[in-house]
């Protein structure tokens, strides 16, 4: 019973449109899941249900055994153990890099400023961006911004990390520096769910591949099986398209 995320019969609608259809997914502690699928298949919506940026209508989502409801305290405490990295970074442009990192530890975790700074400096070192600490997000490159965003999430010492297409908005030459940070994080045993189309990263890191289409999980298998011997026609077609 070391499932940190349990998603049961999850369904979600945007008005009349059903984006998620009866999703079941369990994630064990330390497991790395890569979710892929065509655009509009509901991958982002699925992981956004895990920290309740999206509210689901049917089924249940449990994080560390606690079910997500509209209880504000549960939501806020869940978000402190579930970090999230966005496609468009969403750094706070009016704060310096250092302030971006210390904000949540100080206000959400009530650490004092020196403790927060210590944590922030540690993670800036890890993502190798310490020399930019006093700059503003607008002064950094895309790859640097995404590394800062990862460090910002890590400052809350989360147990689970969600990545929502973290490299899709980056110039090609900056993808590697972000994937390197994510790989390092995976090697250290972080529980991760990544929505990404970086298949090289998936082969190297994933414990399990999840392929989604039209709001359903079409295929769920180990990377070896997924890439070499996909079961469904839809998966084969998708892989053909993105691997050329």
């Amino acid at each position: 019973m070391n499932q940190v995320i349990e998603i049961k019969n999850l369904s979600k609608w945007f008005d009349d449109f059903q984006v998620l259809k009866d999703i079941n997914l369990n994630v064990k502690k330390g497991e790395k899941i890569v979710i892929c699928g065509p655009s509009g298949s509901g991958k982002s919506t699925l992981i956004r249900c895990v920290n309740r940026l999206e509210v689901h209508q049917e089924g249940s989502v449990r994080v560390n055994g606690i079910e997500l409801t509209d209880n504000v305290e549960v939501i806020e405490s869940t978000r402190k153990v579930v970090g999230m990295v966005f496609q468009h970074f969403n750094l706070f442009p009016h704060l310096t890099i250092l302030e971006n990192l210390t904000l949540a530890p100080m206000w959400a975790k009530k650490l004092n400023k020196n403790e927060a700074l210590e944590i922030a400096n540690k993670y800036l070192d890890i993502v190798q961006i310490a020399d930019q600490a006093h700059k503003y997000p607008g002064q950094l490159s895309g790859g640097q911004k995404q590394r800062v965003a990862i460090a910002r999430s890590l400052c809350l010492k989360p147990e689970i990390m969600l990545f929502d297409e973290p490299t899709s908005a980056l110039d090609p030459e900056m993808v590697k520096e972000v994937l390197d940070v994510m790989t390092k994080l995976a090697e250290e045993g972080m529980t991760m769910i990544c929505v990404t189309h970086e298949m090289g990263f998936a082969k190297q890191v994933a414990d399990r591949m999840v392929f989604m289409d039209e709001g359903k999980i079409v295929e769920e298998s180990s990377p070896e099986e997924f890439f070499n011997n996909p079961k469904s026609e839809r998966t084969k077609k998708f892989l053909n398209q993105i691997l050329h």
Binding site: R79, G83, F92, L103, A104, K109, K113
Partner: protein, 382 residues
């Protein structure tokens, strides 16, 4: 004709022609006015300013009597304009901010009330609102003897608003000065904190030392002043109150009218500013475990204000210029005093010129200060 083929030369030529025509136009007007004035035997020039005004001014910050000069009368009117504009803008910005934020509240009732406030206030002409508030004071409120006394130290009557205040002791008079010094101290502490952050990575506290500075300095001076603690209470004396702070019905209704009217526009600007902040900022903040209020105050509002400041500057200037409607309810602002002077002296050109100059300089200095502030909070992109 190669000269005219250059784009730059053509632009210069147009500008020269335009300038010349403007000069010609104004020379024509000036000469026309001069000859008209000469025919009517009105002396032009500003020499009338040092003559005796001969009229009273309803309320004045400086001492003014009818045997003082026009110069002093105009200064008194100018100070009245600055007074109502200064207090009015602070209140209108604060109220506009509150209404703007609450109009986006999740609470249906609060949000609708804010929207109702904005829609009803901004769609009624300001001058009607001024007449309304003035008539409340003069027609609805009772006479001085039966003045309304909603809470201790506050008296409402058709003579305006009387409030309890600190007594006229020098210590209370320099309190605002200590306040200004504390603001200076705040920026000093802030600079020190940033320096220390850059050098050692540890930010020093800003608010606590500022507060300590204010309390300690005030307390020390309070001790030196011999612990004054008398208050000045408004008391009925004859047909009026004595003591306390007095806000006349004219000033009060002008202030209320200007503040409510401008705050509705300010609220819309603040609301638009908040809506302009990218939705991803809300998501990022809440995914970091910040609650709604923290997200609003730490992330959204600081960014919203950056968008809202330039249009808010316009509203500050609008309130200042709209204060000239004071003339309609008899508050002696600059325009009202200049108008009275004009009626007596007939120096229309000079006085209208003065009015234009005064409003231009108030507006330009306001926007200078606000633009400096605006530049200091602009996001750094490079």
């Amino acid at each position: 004709m190669n000269f005219l083929k250059s784009e730059k030369n053509r632009e210069y030529l147009w500008q020269v022609l335009f300038t010349l025509s403007i000069i010609a136009f104004f020379t024509f007007i000036l000469r026309n006015t001069q000859s008209a004035l000469d025919k009517q035997g009105i002396a032009s020039g500003f020499s009338f300013l040092s003559q005796e005004a001969g009229f009273e001014i309803g309320e004045s910050i400086i001492d003014f009597f009818s045997d003082d000069t026009y110069q002093l009368a105009l200064l008194s009117g100018f100070l009245n304009t600055v007074k109502v504009a200064f207090i009015g803008n602070i209140l209108a910005l604060a109220l506009g901010f509150i209404v703007g934020v609450t109009s986006l509240s999740d609470n249906y009732l609060v949000a609708k009330l804010s929207k109702f406030y904005v829609e009803s206030i901004r769609n009624i002409p300001l001058i009607l609102q001024l007449f309304f508030w003035y008539s409340i004071f003069t027609e609805v409120f009772p006479s001085v003897r039966s003045a309304l006394n909603p809470i201790g130290g506050v008296y409402l009557s058709n003579r305006g608003l009387y409030l309890v205040s600190f007594s006229d002791h020098w210590f209370f008079n320099i309190l605002p000065l200590i306040g200004i010094l504390s603001v200076v101290a705040f920026f000093f502490f802030k600079k020190r904190s940033i320096k220390s952050l850059e050098r050692t990575g540890v930010a020093r506290k800003i608010f606590l030392p500022t507060l300590l500075f204010f309390i300690l300095v005030s307390f020390a001076l309070w001790l030196v002043a011999g612990l004054p603690r008398e208050l000045s209470w408004p008391t009925l004396a004859g047909f009026n109150f004595e003591g306390g702070v007095h806000l006349s019905p004219e000033f009060s209704s002008l202030l209320i009218g200007l503040v409510l009217y401008t705050s509705a526009f300010n609220a819309e600007i603040v609301r638009a500013g908040i809506l302009s902040v990218d939705h991803g900022q809300w998501e990022a903040a809440s995914s970091l475990g910040l609650n709604k209020n923290q997200t609003l105050s730490l992330i959204v509002i600081p960014q919203a204000l950056r968008v809202a400041i330039p249009p808010l500057i316009s509203q500050v200037l609008n309130l200042t210029k709209n204060s000239s409607l004071a003339v309609a309810i008899g508050y002696p602002d600059f325009v009202s005093v200049a108008n009275t002077s004009l009626n007596i002296t007939g120096q229309a050109v000079e006085l209208v010129l003065l009015i234009m100059l005064v409003y231009l300089s108030i507006s330009l200095s306001t926007s200078l200060v606000m633009n400096i502030y605006n530049r200091s909070v602009t996001l750094k992109e490079r």
